[in-house]
Symmetry: C2
Subunit: 220 residues, 2 copies
């Protein structure tokens, strides 16, 4: 037994002494794998059609399990969506954590924007909840979601202020305007519109939207 009462995610001991735990661990592993498969499907459907148009029947069918089994893992449709949002934000946070080696704050922000656009073009970016959705209430009471959103916002907010101090980002704009703009670009429908024309590569599309975002439409 550890001397300190650490939360589970901070307990680093990988070795297990008792035999019975092995079976439990295996089961937990299987359950986790199943839930990850579910979340992957939800993530894609959420990106494709949005929360309202996504049906639980659809999710169950695509995962290949019965709907009742789905509800054993997640208590409601809103919680399904919340899990998908949390996973997407965790991946974003993971990517953000890889950027601490990049010195220039503006470059870090641009790297994040580029990453989110790539995720969106891959059809893996769950769309933002529209403001009056039933989803919003669930999300704002979902601590994992709120915590992650806060951490990401604080990290990016710090970078934004640093970039403004370096005169790299427009100082006339309040940091929250920049932050919300970056969030909005992660779901920018322009990417999908341009992709739907079938005339451009993903790389071209991302480069153009990156330019409109950071350089603006007007000639420099």
């Amino acid at each position: 037994m550890p001397p300190l009462n650490l939360p589970d995610n901070l307990c680093m001991s990988a070795t297990v002494k008792d035999a019975p735990v092995k079976k439990t661990s295996f089961r937990q592993h299987m359950q986790q794998a199943r839930e990850e498969a579910i979340v992957r499907v939800v993530n894609r459907l959420l990106a494709e059609k949005g929360f309202d148009a996504m049906t639980v029947d659809e999710v169950a069918a695509e995962v290949g399990i019965a709907k009742a089994s789905l509800y054993r893992h997640f208590p409601s449709k809103e919680d399904l969506a919340a899990a998908a949002m949390v996973k997407a934000m965790q991946q974003a946070m993971d990517f953000i954590d890889t950027l601490h080696t990049v010195v220039c704050p503006l470059a870090r922000l641009q790297a994040v924007a580029r990453w989110t656009m790539k995720v969106q073009l891959a059809g893996e970016m769950p769309s933002l909840p529209s403001e009056n959705s039933s989803l919003r209430a669930t999300l704002t009471s979902h601590t994992a979601y709120v915590d992650l959103l806060l951490r990401i916002s604080e990290t990016l907010g710090g970078w934004i202020e640093a970039a403004q101090d370096e005169q790299k980002l427009a100082k006339q704009l309040p940091p929250i305007v920049v932050l919300y703009t970056l969030y909005a670009r992660a779901c920018d429908p322009v990417l999908g519109f341009l992709k739907a024309t079938g005339q451009f590569t993903d790389q071209q599309i991302i480069d153009w939207v990156m330019q409109t975002c950071f350089e603006g439409l007007r000639t420099r």
Copy 2:
């Protein structure tokens, strides 16, 4: 009886000779007024919650008529939405037509962008149809909608090319990228996010989003 078989909307004669016609005209007027009231409600609900979350019961309740009466005016929910979209685009086209006195093409484009943002903050901008919605099929087969979208796109497209020729708009960007970007900004969620903070005036919000759109996030 008129000598030519003109469509109704091209018949300019305001004076009516036969008495019975007066009643018909009055009825038509009333019907048109009712339909305009319906479209106003649909427009607002579409802006608030989007097509999927909007219910026909809601529309009927807010207009103050029975649902069956609604269906006498519009054959389906999709047609309700289409009528709202068409009306919004007609208003956009009307505004665009007032801009032919403005000489600078860039100034015209900026005026249009500013106008759409004002409409959106007023809660009167019906949101874009998500790509796989049942609404999209109806819209693309709705000639009035397609015609208006085409006319607006051609007008703005011409202004974009002119502005690029004048070196006012970034020439690296294909005109279609600029056009889609302007369309997307008309529905930019950043406006709603910033308004929801309650910290800023509509004028501030519009000025900031206009700056991010045309000047970009990076320092000039």
